[in-house]
């Protein structure tokens, strides 16, 4: 443990006792006693109370300003950035300075909590407490007032729209995962045979959609699926091809169950790049001499792929697959924007948002959220564990 040094200029070294030179303050005793606190002295007491008080007042003022301000957005962004960087740094610095005024034995015990404290506070407030509360709410009525037992869960597991959602989620999982991982693997192994430059270009093109929001992608594909009545020129690519083949134009997003497949294609377009990049890195890690040896022994390229490449990168395939499964279980934006969950396209997350924030039924919304959690957790645990193993191997 390091103490506060006396030599560096920008700390209040006259007030903080260097940890190794404090015999004047602590005479022989190892316990934290009243004498330690007396040694703090009036100036230190002022600093200890004053700095947090000033810090709190400034933060409160900024908070009110940012919350209520009608000011110019650029100004708000500027203030926010100052608060975000300098303000938060200042907060830690202020706490550290205050901590230095304590006798070092106390100070060094408190210091780690200054570093982790704010993070733990925010995590408790924004993740731990709400998750517990949601669990509790799922047993209460729509206003969170009276206990209704398992009613909300009965709703979540039997409601017609929820059953549609479960059916669709299965379609999403099967098709979405197969297509993203399968296509990603195909492309990754094909571009591996190209020269470095074309490989890079091809990978970039397929990866670019990763930068696009789900909402943006929904518009991109909504334009492709758009429908004009028969006789008028089709401006959507899909209907243009469809009518060119001699068919009547189709309102694609209303065609059950194909509309769900069309929504899945949007996700495939967005996410194949992700699985391709990860799998491509793994394929490059397959030792070249093993591949060479197999080829010399007369193995065809397909055999090399199935017998050597696939088994070698199996753990990466599992990581990519589980990541996709989690993403798909929580899919929301695409469905919400393209069909609002109408025409039989509902998924779990759209139902949850609709119950909680359109129908204002906290109980049902919470129950659906818990169902989502229960579905996600096993995959997520597996994924986090795999991820940690991968990191550990790096």
């Amino acid at each position: 443990m390091t103490g506060q040094p006396p030599v560096l200029p920008d700390t209040d070294s006259d007030q903080s006792p260097p940890s190794d030179s404090g015999p004047t303050e602590r005479v022989g005793t190892e316990e934290v006693t009243g004498r330690d606190w007396l040694a703090i002295g009036p100036i230190r007491f002022l600093v200890a109370v004053g700095i947090p008080a000033i810090g709190f007042m400034v933060l409160w003022w900024v908070f009110k300003f940012l919350r209520d301000s009608e000011a110019n957005r650029i100004l708000i962004v500027a203030v926010a950035m100052v608060v975000g960087v300098i303000g938060i740094f200042g907060l830690y610095w202020g706490m550290d300075v205050v901590n230095n005024t304590f006798p070092s034995r106390i100070g060094e015990r408190v210091r780690p909590w200054i570093f982790v404290g704010p993070a733990l506070a925010i995590l408790s407030l924004y993740l731990v407490w709400p998750a517990v509360r949601t669990f509790w709410l799922s047993f209460l009525d729509q206003n969170g007032e009276s206990f209704v037992g398992l009613d909300n869960y009965i709703f979540a597991l039997t409601d017609e729209k929820m059953l549609t959602a479960f059916r669709n989620t299965v379609i999403w999982l099967v098709l979405g995962t197969t297509l993203t991982v399968g296509l990603g693997l195909t492309v990754a192994s094909l571009v591996d045979r190209l020269k470095p430059r074309p490989e890079k270009v091809a990978k970039s093109i397929i990866f670019v959609p990763m930068a696009i929001s789900f909402v943006g992608a929904s518009v991109v594909w909504g334009f492709i699926y758009t429908f004009r009545p028969s006789g008028r020129p089709q401006i959507g690519l899909l209907n243009a091809i469809w009518t060119w083949l001699g068919n009547e134009p189709v309102f694609w997003l209303r065609q059950q169950p194909w509309n769900t497949v069309l929504l899945i294609i949007v996700l495939v377009w967005l996410q194949t790049g992700f699985s391709m990049v990860i799998l491509s890195a793994a394929i490059k890690g397959v030792p070249e001499d093993i591949l060479e040896a197999a080829r010399i022994d007369g193995a065809a390229e397909l055999q090399v792929f199935w017998r050597i490449v696939i088994p070698t990168i199996k753990s990466t395939i599992v990581v990519v697959t589980t990541t996709m499964i989690i993403l798909i279980l929580k899919v929301f934006d695409i469905v919400w924007v393209m069909t609002s969950g109408e025409f039989g396209t509902d998924v779990i997350a759209t139902n949850m948002i609709r119950q909680a924030f359109r129908f204002f039924d906290d109980g049902r919304g919470a129950a659906i959220a818990v169902v989502l959690l229960i579905v996600v957790i096993p995959v997520m645990v597996l994924n986090v564990r795999r991820f940690r193993e991968e990191e550990a191997m790096r």
């Binding site: 708000i76 709400p130 929001s213």
Partner: protein, 312 residues
């Protein structure tokens, strides 16, 4: 693919002839080109359409422009003028910046301090707390939304005693920053702790021997050394927040003067679903910044996204 394989032409030990392999190469190239074109077409169609006059968009497909590429009447920027001003996209763009920049900076700062403590400070419960923080990555966002919105609009009380005052944070930037901070912290702490923890112990010890306090070691040594990890997470978080729809929908919701680009675009889909000149231009506005980040910082971008793939 090592170059050695391609150049190695003495095929006597191989079952395939030179011609066969050349053919293989061409099939591979063809398939890759077909897939790449398929992947490009949607974006190209959007971009081309966004620069076409409204009546042209609604009467002919965007692929017909290739007959009259050089005709000045084919192109216009009117759609962008329309969507930026009348449809509020410029306003939304500023709002997105106002949400995204602090929502990226704040979690990084808080996470870096915590990550340093988890890596290099000694305190009781350090291991178990870190495991709990990492474990929080499994909590889906949906699990937190209802109680958080309730706090934002009415505070919280236990047995009638208010423990959190009514902060009236719904529909404010501040509320969204804090929400994104909370949701981003587990991953940020995890990534930064791994990186900071892998810095050589000898550096930390020499800093300590030179009399540097933890605070000084952190600011002067650890933060500069951790720039690669910070940059990767920053890009991931920036894109995540910029492209986010769900958190903005719940916490900023219908308040139109603070709505961000994704919300605005989704509203346009609802209100002007057939005005493709507006939708295509609007969609492109939402994509400009992420695409710039992508092409400018591709390496960090890939690293950040792959690291962030487990985020809930």
């Amino acid at each position: 693919m090592s170059l050695g394989y391609e150049l190695d032409m003495d095929a006597e030990s191989r079952p395939k002839t030179f011609v066969e392999r050349l053919l293989d190469q061409w099939i591979v190239k063809l398939v890759v080109i077909v897939i790449a074109v398929l992947w490009l077409v949607p974006t190209v169609g959007l971009l081309v359409s966004s620069f076409r006059p409204a009546d042209a968009i609604s009467t002919s497909g965007w692929w017909t422009v290739f007959d009259k590429l050089l005709d000045a009447r084919t192109w216009t920027v009117e759609n962008y003028r329309q969507v930026m001003d009348a449809d509020g996209m410029w306003n939304a763009f500023l709002n997105s910046l106002a949400v995204t920049i602090p929502a990226t900076v704040i979690p990084i700062t808080i996470a870096a301090f915590a990550a340093y403590a988890f890596a290099w400070m000694d305190f009781r419960g350090r291991q178990i707390l870190f495991v709990v923080v990492v474990g929080l990555m499994v909590v889906p966002l949906q699990m937190t939304l209802i109680p958080l919105l309730n706090i934002y609009t009415g505070g919280a009380e236990i047995f009638g005693i208010p423990i959190i005052p009514d902060l009236d944070l719904s529909g404010t930037y501040m509320g969204v920053w804090l929400a994104h901070t909370g949701f981003g912290l587990p991953l940020a702490i995890y990534l930064l702790r791994n990186y900071i923890g892998s810095l050589p112990r000898s550096i930390m010890e020499s800093a300590s021997i030179d009399g540097a306090s933890h605070f000084q070691t952190f600011i002067r040594l650890v933060v500069p050394l951790s720039v690669p990890a910070i940059a990767s997470f920053a890009i991931f978080q920036f894109l995540w927040v910029w492209n986010d729809f769900l958190v903005a929908l719940v916490f900023l919701g219908g308040t139109s003067d603070v709505s961000v680009v994704t919300i605005r675009l989704a509203e346009l889909v609802g209100s002007r679903g057939q005005d493709w000149q507006v939708l295509t231009a609007g969609a492109f506005v939402t994509m400009v910044l992420p695409l710039t980040v992508f092409f400018g910082l591709q390496r960090y971008f890939v690293r950040g996204l792959t690291a962030g793939s487990v985020k809930g």
